[in-house]
Symmetry: C2
């Protein structure tokens, strides 16, 4: 793990992202994400509050992917140099965007660093969480024949979901405390590529069913501009921030039947396929043909 972030860069070039969504160390989980202007947001096109919200929410989603409980955050920002009143307003808007999430999930900002410079807005948030007695979800924990469950609906996050999504914190805690979950990841880069990551880390393959993938209304709206099918958006759009979970078959059946997250948190679980000993990553199309599923999605670097 020592070389993690250099390895990560190297890995991203080869589409082989290593490691979990957060690091487990000393009984806690730690994650950091840096958002930058022009890549993660266009300052002139989105409310500053939503940028602040997103900078925290993406980290909370990583904590959810581990089935852990967020507790504290450190926030470092570099603001585009302007007059100091304008900067103070910018910082305050970033903070007010975070505030509802801080309150909802009982997370405390314990420290930070505020800078000004001549380039674009940068926000780097570190979140610390605690590990439940049940342990954490690891990418490498999936077992052959485990069902593949996903939360919510996928695709088209570019329309708004990427800024207003609810990190699946409560859902993950509930599932970790009440059910046997073998592996987890959040969909930050796309269903297909993130599924590849779990399969690779667990040394397994998958077979998923196009018919079973929950497609968001926004994915369908996106088709009008993109000319691509809704299912293509659901498979390859990034920033859904839904969870992919590996769950033992019988446990998965119970979960799909009882939908315990629906009443509690308004979140539906869908079974989209299963993990296989055969290491191919495959999809069964609507017409019944089986084909290789490429690691579609956002590729870093």
């Amino acid at each position: 793990m020592e070389l993690a972030w250099v390895e990560r860069l190297r890995g991203e070039r080869e589409m082989e992202l290593l490691g979990d969504d957060a690091a487990v160390w000393g009984g806690k989980v730690f994650t950091v994400d840096m958002l930058t202007e022009g890549v993660d947001f266009i300052l002139s096109e989105v409310a500053t509050e939503l940028i602040g919200r997103k900078s925290l929410a993406v980290n909370l989603s990583d904590i959810a992917a581990m089935g852990a409980v967020p507790e504290a955050a450190l926030v470092a920002v570099s603001l585009p140099r302007g007059d100091s009143d304008k900067n103070l307003l910018l910082a305050e808007k970033l903070y007010s965007g975070m505030k509802p999430l801080l309150e909802k999930y009982n997370v405390k900002i314990i420290g930070g660093d505020t800078n000004c410079w001549d380039d674009g807005l940068v926000i780097s948030v570190t979140v610390i969480g605690s590990v439940l007695p049940q342990g954490v979800f690891k990418r490498a924990g999936a077992k052959a024949n485990d069902a593949i469950l996903v939360t919510g609906e996928l695709g088209g996050s570019i329309l708004s979901h990427q800024f207003i999504f609810e990190p699946r914190i409560f859902e993950a805690i509930y599932l970790n405390q009440n059910h046997s979950i073998h592996a987890g990841i959040d969909i930050s880069d796309g269903l297909a590529i993130d599924l590849h990551r779990v399969a690779k880390e667990s040394n397994l393959g998958t077979i998923i069913y196009a018919d079973a993938i929950p497609i968001s209304r926004d994915a369908s709206i996106c088709t009008k501009k993109s000319g691509r099918l809704p299912i293509e958006h659901a498979l390859s759009d990034g920033e859904d921030f839904e969870l992919i979970l590996a769950v033992p078959e019988d446990e998965a059946t119970k979960l799909i039947e009882s939908q315990p997250l629906l009443d509690r948190f308004g979140c539906r679980l869908s079974k989209i396929g299963k993990f296989t000993t055969d290491k191919n990553i495959r999809i069964v199309n609507k017409n019944g043909t089986i084909e290789k599923l490429e690691p579609l999605g956002f590729q870093h670097g």
Copy 2:
């Protein structure tokens, strides 16, 4: 503390930096510093390894200012977009600059985030440390009549010290374990302004002696260009990353006589004055006149 980083921005406008160098939370200390191109370094003027080194070292200095033990780090970077081979090389150089410090102080990189974008290089490092049984040095802990001690020599860090300084980790741990230290801060913005901060937080004043301030050779070299006196550089130059400590009078006398850090770590302690109930911050000049010491140094935002 909830509003820490917005308060910090607001505070910096009013030159009233609040809080300690690191946050104490859950039995650990946490600090984050974000370094940006053009502010903290000029990419074309300094070896990339030294930028990586500095991004970690400034955080280690904050941990030292608390008298704590660094343990782990998370590193988030945004690299100026280039070809991926160039970016990998840049990331590797940043990492090789950190490596000697990671090894020397037994700090593990537990996670990170690597991004590319169209603007300048940004590195944000979060460091986590453990609190010794003796507790931490707080800015607010100075008592009236405590001696003011500083490590090393001050001023002129712009010539090279700002990139090659050794964070006073071992010195701080030794002092915390073997002596009574009431308060601490590292000199990141300048002796005068950082002394103001300790005095303000402790609700005290100070009297320091110009004659007693350890002035670095680099401060003297700087005078040639700046036309300012070496003592002015020692008082106002930022990025010395030496420690200012509040130490009970008798303990301070022992420390100055025995210089326990000199043999062990090559670090001399100097007594430069004392804290006073009178809340003025004053300096006794070489000619014996006493005057108000302005909060000279780097002011953020």
